[in-house]
């Protein structure tokens, strides 16, 4: 009996310790995460839910009063021609400013990974635009595109292509494309650096073995380089995707959404409604839609890539 009792006591004591340990083990990670969680909740979750609520109101963004209008703002978006135009512009912007800088970045990285003279200088030259303030970039390109005195038209005239000289930012047909050029210029350096780092991590012996097996340069690129860049691709495309959804400042500073509304994107149109038209309820509804679109596009991609990594 005594043994049994002792054994039972030991078992109870062990269970208690285990339960306490388990409880402690459950709480400890949360304690560590708490400071970051507080910041996350206060500065992201709370404003996000607050915005969601205001998207259901007719608040003008200045007055102390507002009315709850249900889904009226979302219905109004369906009838707003600028929203449709902005959504199309966003789509074009996303495709072009993801694909072109990523491809150019990869090409430059491959070229700079070889035996090239002045490699550090070239890397700096290609990366520097990415660290310039966007408003400064907008001013620089605004002058370059000046129809009368700008370098772009001057160059075209000098090489005998004066007929192609255009008021690049002053007409609907060219304005969006003209703003995408500085965006590409800015955004090529970053993927180039990431790809360059990834390229330098590929073991040389893989290329040597492939050469021994008679693989050509293209085959080596396709069957060795590209698979080894999968990790870099994930980072580059995910960051580019996020960047393209955030587009605002370059368009705002370069064309102010014009001419007319030709270069409006969802971000700028949201800003115009909230800050300039005193339609904060409607503007935040646009912001909610932008967020949902970004989540809808981003999450499947991130999940698929995460699974692949696991």
């Amino acid at each position: 009996m005594a043994t049994t009792t002792a054994s039972a006591g030991t078992t109870v004591s062990t269970r208690t310790r285990t339960r306490r340990g388990t409880q402690h083990g459950r709480v400890t990670p949360w304690l560590f995460a708490l400071p970051a969680l507080i910041v996350y909740v206060v500065f992201l979750v709370y404003p996000a839910f607050s915005s969601l609520f205001f998207s259901l109101t007719d608040w003008d963004g200045l007055s102390p009063d507002y009315h709850v209008v249900g889904l009226d703002n979302y219905r109004a978006m369906l009838k707003d021609p600028v929203v449709k135009q902005a959504a199309v512009n966003n789509l074009i912007w996303s495709v072009v400013t993801i694909v072109v800088p990523v491809v150019l970045g990869l090409v430059l990285a491959v070229l700079l990974n070889g035996k090239v003279r002045g490699k550090p200088v070239l890397r700096m030259v290609f990366y520097t635009p990415g660290v310039l303030p966007l408003v400064a970039v907008a001013s620089i390109w605004g002058w370059l595109y000046n129809p009368q005195y700008g370098a772009v038209n001057a160059l075209l005239r000098d090489i005998g292509l004066g007929s192609l000289a255009q008021p690049w930012l002053g007409q609907n047909s060219t304005a969006l494309a003209a703003v995408m050029v500085p965006a590409i210029w800015l955004r090529t350096g970053f993927p180039m650096l990431l790809y360059l780092a990834a390229l330098q991590g590929i073991p040389q012996d893989q290329y040597e073995a492939a050469t021994m097996d008679g693989a050509g340069r293209f085959q080596q690129f396709w069957y060795i380089t590209m698979p080894n860049l999968r990790g870099a691709n994930y980072i580059v495309i995910a960051l580019s995707l996020i960047d393209s959804f955030k587009v605002f400042d370059l368009i705002y500073a370069t064309t102010y959404g014009g001419p007319g509304t030709a270069t409006q994107v969802m971000g700028t149109w949201m800003y115009f409604n909230v800050f300039q038209y005193y339609q904060a309820g409607y503007g935040t509804a646009i912001a909610v839609v932008i967020s949902l679109a970004a989540i809808a596009v981003g999450i499947p991609y991130v999940r698929s890539q995460t699974k692949e990594h696991q």
């Binding site: 507080i38 909740v41 206060v42 709370y46 607050s50 609520f53 109101t57 007719d58 608040w59 003008d60 963004g61 200045l62 007055s63 102390p64 009063d65 507002y66 009315h67 709850v68 209008v69 249900g70 009226d72 605004g142 002058w143 595109y145 000046n146 129809p147 009368q148 005195y149 255009q166 008021p167 690049w168 930012l169 002053g170 007409q171 609907n172 304005a175 064309t255 102010y256 014009g258 001419p259 007319g260 509304t261 030709a262 115009f272 800050f275 300039q276 038209y277 005193y278 339609q279």
Partner: protein
């Protein structure tokens, strides 16, 4: 709409309380402080700290700060000045709005009149200044037309200090090169434009980025084709825009571009770049106000005698020009309204206005010095004799103004006809007037 009215503060307050219970009130308290204001005191006569928000640029900010320092010295106050120079009425109001919603905002801010200043009065962010008008006798010292430009629904929400009159500002050397003189009629202006183009000079330097600069050309063309009475009725929506006079104005607007009387690709040009081009000798003239004498001519170290200014000819009596007012408002939630009003009173004293070099002061006895600002002085005399029509971006709310700028843009790109543009303008204006 449910019809139930909520206040933003009650929503923020309720959620903030929930956070406070979770021990987070320190992070969310700003939005619930109902006695915010630029200075921290909660009563009208509070602390000695003031904050002023303005859009003085590099050419004028030094003088402005010097006058503020003088006020501080006389009154024992400490006034902070924040300035956001740059894109005119396109960006500054956004920044001001953000500051006000941030729970604090400046005690005093500079703002344009009309529909740019109106939202701050309507939202009760700007204080009713009637008691201070009585206290300081501003009614008898300041131009009444200008006061009307900062009075909203009968509430005097601002104190105007600047009355702009906009017309042609030209480069005498380029006019001489093309052998043209100051036009006395619209036909003469068109002839002058042709002569300037023939001499290899771009006549009118206007830019379409933001819309408001090139708008000055269209509103002039509308005044010319419609005449004063109809123009005023169009601006208030009392008459339909879908009419021949408006079609004529849009037709002429397109003509100015097609005949190269405005710069190639004007729609994409930044006003900050193209407006001073007449001083640099790149365009013959521009359409602007008195500030250009300080900001463009004197800033470029040029002599005023090399330039001239004129009222754009309308062929109507009276000859009117585009105009607008600018003034100061006081934060309704400022804890220091009395001192803020004292500061404004100091700023609108004739001697302060003269020291600030205000080129179009609304204050009696503060006309610009003829020897220092001869061209601005000329406009002070024009303003006495000629009435003005409200500049269109102050006549309409921003949303309607931007829709109107889209019409301007489409006309110049040939995407819409003048007749269609007139119809679209009627839709834009009537949708606004129906909401009122």
């Amino acid at each position: 709409m449910t019809g139930k009215t909520y206040t933003r503060r009650s929503f923020l307050g309720a959620t903030a309380v929930a956070f406070a219970e979770a021990g987070l009130s320190a992070c969310t308290g700003a939005g619930t402080n109902s006695s915010g204001g630029g200075s921290t005191s909660s009563s009208g006569g509070g602390s000695n700290n003031l904050r002023v928000f303005t859009y003085e640029d590099n050419a004028t900010i030094g003088t402005f700060k010097a006058q503020i320092a003088k006020f501080d010295q006389q009154n024992g106050t400490t006034t902070t000045v924040d300035s956001l120079p740059g894109s005119g009425a396109a960006v500054y109001p956004d920044k001001l709005r953000t500051e006000l919603l941030g729970g604090s905002g400046p005690d005093v801010w500079r703002i344009w009149g009309g529909q740019i200043g109106a939202p701050y009065a309507k939202a009760r962010q700007a204080a009713d200044l009637a008691p201070y008008y009585t206290k300081y006798g501003w009614d008898s010292r300041i131009n009444q037309n200008a006061i009307a430009g900062m009075t909203f629904n009968g509430v005097k929400s601002g104190v105007p200090f600047f009355l702009a009159g906009m017309g042609g500002w030209y480069n005498k050397a380029l006019f001489a090169k093309a052998k043209v003189s100051v036009p006395k009629s619209y036909a003469e202006l068109e002839q002058a434009n042709d002569a300037l183009v023939a001499a290899g000079v771009t006549p009118a330097g206007v830019g379409g980025k933001y819309g408001w600069d090139i708008m000055r050309l269209f509103e002039y063309l509308l005044e010319q084709s419609a005449g004063p009475e109809l123009h005023d009725k169009l601006l208030t929506g009392a008459e339909s825009w879908d009419r021949p006079e408006v079609v004529t104005a849009f037709t002429n607007f397109k003509k100015w571009q097609d005949k190269k009387w405005i710069p190639q690709g004007a729609l994409g040009l930044d006003p900050a770049d193209i407006e001073p081009a007449y001083v640099q000798g790149k365009t013959a003239y521009t359409i602007t106000g008195q500030w250009t004498e300080v900001n463009a001519i004197q800033n470029a170290k040029k002599s005023a005698s090399d330039f001239g200014t004129f009222q754009l000819p309308t062929d109507h009596t009276p000859v009117r020009h585009s105009g607008f007012v600018e003034g100061y408002m006081i934060n309704a939630r400022s804890g220091n309204k009395d001192k803020a009003a004292a500061l404004i009173d100091f700023l609108v004293k004739p001697e302060t206005q003269k020291a600030l070099g205000i080129t179009g002061s609304t204050v009696n006895g503060a006309e610009p010095d003829k020897s220092k600002l001869p061209l601005a002085y000329q406009w002070s005399q024009i303003n006495k004799e000629s009435p003005f029509y409200t500049v269109q971006d102050q006549a309409f709310p921003k949303q309607q103004t931007d829709a109107y700028f889209s019409v301007q843009s489409d006309i110049l790109q040939g995407k819409t006809s003048p007749a269609e543009a007139a119809k679209r303008m009627q839709e834009i204006v009537s949708s606004w007037t129906q909401k009122q």
